[in-house]
Symmetry: C2
Subunit: 235 residues, 2 copies
């Protein structure tokens, strides 16, 4: 059975890395002693080793050890043998490029669909949708495709931001950008605010956290979904 947690952000303002998710992660990864970490989204600043250490530190609190995929001689085998997988945030264009370059996109998708528990945060969540086309990130590298894992039948906009009422800035709001996406695409888009996550168990998809999420469908006005909403039929 597919078991996926798709989080808007790794970190809430004022709390530590993954802190707010740890109670859920303890249940989600209850059969795992070791996690495979995919640090590919990180565009510098810290190394893959340092990023992996950061994930290790958080998961140590729930007695799970973490090893970065870059530490394995054969990353494909690492994915196939993983007890659980976590893809961290960063830049989605970079993450998607790296997954294609290392020939992992399809393998990762199949592995998670076959039941290996998965956690994505931010860019690691973006790739759970059908395409990365509703990312907020800057196109710092050119990926061979915008198609992603397709673990769910819609797209995500992590770190969703409501428009600021008093703004005098003329750049597009997040809502306007998603509307632009729907001028050329029919895929539903879920705006996940920081503090929200999706829990996927087989075909069941539940909105978690205390906040509502904003659902965008082509040619329809956006709607707000309450926590615990079931998104299993959204496609």
């Amino acid at each position: 059975m597919k078991k996926v947690i798709i989080a808007s952000t790794s970190t809430l303002h004022g709390s530590s890395y993954l802190e707010y998710l740890l109670p859920s992660l303890k249940l989600h990864f209850k059969d795992c002693k070791n996690l495979l970490f995919i640090p590919y989204a990180r565009p510098g600043g810290i190394s893959h080793d340092e990023y992996t250490a950061k994930a290790s530190e958080a998961f140590a609190k729930i007695n799970i050890s973490v090893k970065g995929i870059h530490e394995f001689e054969n990353p494909e085998t690492a994915i196939k043998n993983a007890e659980g997988i976590f893809t961290g945030g960063g830049n989605t264009f970079l993450l998607v490029s790296q997954l294609y370059k290392n020939n992992m996109m399809q393998l990762l998708s199949e592995t998670v669909k076959n039941g290996t528990p998965y956690l994505g945060t931010s860019a690691g969540s973006n790739i759970c949708g059908l395409s990365m086309q509703t990312t907020n990130d800057m196109p710092i590298v050119y990926p061979p495709s915008f198609q992603t894992l397709g673990l769910i039948s819609f797209n995500l906009n992590p770190h969703y931001l409501d428009p600021e009422e008093k703004s005098t800035h003329m750049g597009e709001t997040r809502e306007e950008r998603i509307k632009e996406f729907h001028a050329f695409n029919t895929i539903p888009v879920l705006g996940l605010r920081e503090g929200s996550w999706l829990e996927v168990k087989g075909e069941k998809i539940t909105l978690k956290g205390n906040l509502s999420a904003r659902l965008f469908l082509k040619n329809q006005l956006p709607t707000e979904l309450a926590p615990e909403s079931d998104l299993g039929n959204l496609k």
Copy 2:
């Protein structure tokens, strides 16, 4: 001689379309009675005809008539014969895709480099740089390349936004995104605030408007450039 105006935004909050630029545009296009308008960036909302009408209305105030490139049977000839060219804003991924699809990227670049006066706003400014990789837009379509017109030897970030000091949002700031770009690219990036524009005359590039602009170079701290700064040597 190359004659280009590259504006952060078409519209300032509280004023009408192109209003703040009209005195400069009157000089810039002083030898033009007719302008060719490229509306390709517009991702729906209004049609190419309606977008062209909006540009026409603004340019009528300085006695220049405007015709959309979509109205021409042969768009290549339209570019070659244009007295002046204006590319409006919208979505840069869409604009770049359309320019490649219609086989216009190289022709437009050559035409402007050969002296046809050009105005870009927002997405129409983004394409003046070496690549569109510092756009703020959402990747709603997949372009065949991120390379753009290369009218100047650096990249632009239009609608540049300073970080909000009191923000609790965990998404990347504009400055952080540009730093990510520099993890993989050496091209300088100029953050152009709304109300700023570049005036390119041959090899001379001058920052115009009342605001400073923020310059990002790989592995260096960002700096502020005062109005009237000369960017001709930036590469």
